[in-house]
Symmetry: C2
Subunit: 291 residues, 2 copies
């Protein structure tokens, strides 16, 4: 079987083709520009490639309500041209095959649950910590949509006592994304995260915010695995620091073996599909659309 | 059909019998004492009543992992005698019928989704704000269990600027439960909540904490309905105040019609089964166990 996959990010699009084992056989990547031009490139890529289905994990917010006339639209994004744009319907007019459609973070969660760190489990949370912060929610064997879709990057956290940075979220100022996404690190410390040394105080502060958010989501959802991806998490020294913060926040309340002692090293983890998590997730969505 | 229902709270047990329309036909109530004595009373109640199934919504933490040898146990409660007690297995030895088993708050969420405020919807959150704070999670048509089960009453919230109360949670001090459950109101204001006037500043502070938690859970889970029950929510003036706090916290970020303007009055609501939410929820669990 040949399944198409589209990982649609706010800055770049990755298109690829893979199989039912989650192996990516071919891929291309191009910048996210005006929607008509960008969609044309996707169509050109898949034309003649005879894929059986295509899965799309998209930047958002997007409409994932199948009963809505705007199902498949990008909704209120500030990205030029994309606001209220019929992303999925435009592709459906070109290819008469099943399509999978979900948020980029739900796709990544689903990819990890299908072939990655949460393989065989019926629940996981996928955080991406990059230019923004997003959370994909997979629970009881299903991707969670609800009213719109999860937007867990914007929850409020308590401020670190040594932090005077005001936060950059245009809606909430100092929400999690406003305080802990890549741009917050850069503005707070006047240097890109990738340029700060591993022992810089930025990382303890980063772990403080992410650990607090992860602890809260463990309390509310009790996921079987927590996966942390995105550009900022390339700083792998963050993992032990975040695990420690989660433990400090829970303070023994959640007495699951997975969280106690060293088992937590296998509970809060990087995506095991690495930088393929997004594209493999879209592939998994495409595969599911066939069923 | 005759379905048995057990609402097992930390202070009292309600047993009842109902039908597939969610109508409770008979009920009794007795205090929660030593487990052997308490279970005996349940057995006596159901003996000879010829119920086809029994659903139980229990205080916790409890084991709801069907693959565990301790499935059906109450786990780490400080309640005398109940820690590590085989609640469900003991009843199963007496009655050879299907049993439903979940947390009290998941049961209440399921009851409201079956016959109450979230009827016909595939997701809702049920908060109980009483002696403690618990959250039941129903998403994509399923009760969420995960690793253990949701414990959303213990998330951290930001402190109200005028609040110097330290919080009573033995694990976290000033977590949501520690700051906003009934005992927090009583200790902070030196009077029972039920004795404070409707315009007392206690209620603005209460709405501040609950609104913040509800906003966070809307971001993380995007539920189609949020139901607030429990003793404290008998103060019905809290509803408009909490809705306002939720809106203030989200600050326009979640652009769902349900949350905008006056529609929110129908989004954040009391249990429409009223004080029957718990027992009806257990009934719904029993009914589901038959299927
Ligand atoms: N090695 C790194 N260390 C710290 N921060 C990084 C690193 N690599 C990228 N980032 C930050 O992550 C953000 C980009 O995240 P990324 O997940 O790559 O893309 P996006 O979120 O735009 O899809 C930027 O703010 C960047 O500064
Ligand atoms: N009318 C009321 N106004 C404010 N608080 C109340 C009211 N009724 C009960 N409470 C508080 O709610 C708590 C009991 O909650 P309830 O849901 O009735 O029981 P439980 O949580 O023990 O199952 C107590 O702390 C009590 O002070
Ligand atoms: Zn925000
Ligand atoms: Zn607590």
């Amino acid at each position: 079987m040949r399944i198409g996959a589209i990982e649609a990010g706010g800055t770049k699009i990755v298109c690829g083709i893979g199989n039912e084992q989650g192996i990516i056989e071919d891929r291309v990547s191009f910048p996210t520009e005006q929607p008509d031009k960008t969609i044309r490139k996707m169509v050109e890529y898949f034309q003649g490639k005879q894929v059986d289905a295509i899965g799309i994990g998209s930047f958002g917010p997007i409409n994932i309500d199948r009963s809505s006339p705007e199902y498949g639209y990008v909704t209120t994004t500030p990205k030029p041209g994309w606001s209220n744009y019929p992303f999925l319907p435009t592709l459906q007019r070109e290819f008469d095959i099943p399509f999978g459609w979900d948020t980029d973070v739900n796709a990544a969660a689903f990819g990890e649950a299908t072939w990655g760190a949460a393989r065989g489990l019926d629940s996981c949370l996928y955080y991406t910590i990059g230019t923004g912060i997003g959370v994909g929610v997979y629970a009881e064997g299903k991707l969670v949509h609800g009213l719109l879709h999860p937007e867990g990057g914007h929850i409020l956290t308590r401020r670190h006592p040594d932090d005077s940075y005001e936060g950059f979220c245009p809606y909430h100022g100092d929400c999690l994304e406003g305080m802990a996404a890549g741009p917050a690190i850069e503005r707070r410390w006047k240097a890109k995260g990738s340029e700060l040394p591993q022992d810089h105080p930025a990382w303890a502060m980063e772990a403080f915010y992410i650990g607090q958010a992860v602890a809260g989501s463990i309390l509310l959802l009790s996921p079987k695995k927590v996966i942390l991806g995105g550009g900022v998490m390339h700083q792998s020294q963050l993992f032990p620091m975040i695990r420690e913060e989660v433990r400090r926040n829970l303070n023994g309340y959640v007495s699951a073996e997975a969280i106690l002692e060293s088992a937590i090293d296998d509970y809060i983890v990087p995506p095991s599909l690495g930088d393929n998590a997004g594209l493999c997730g879209s592939l998994a969505l495409g595969l599911k659309a066939l069923q």
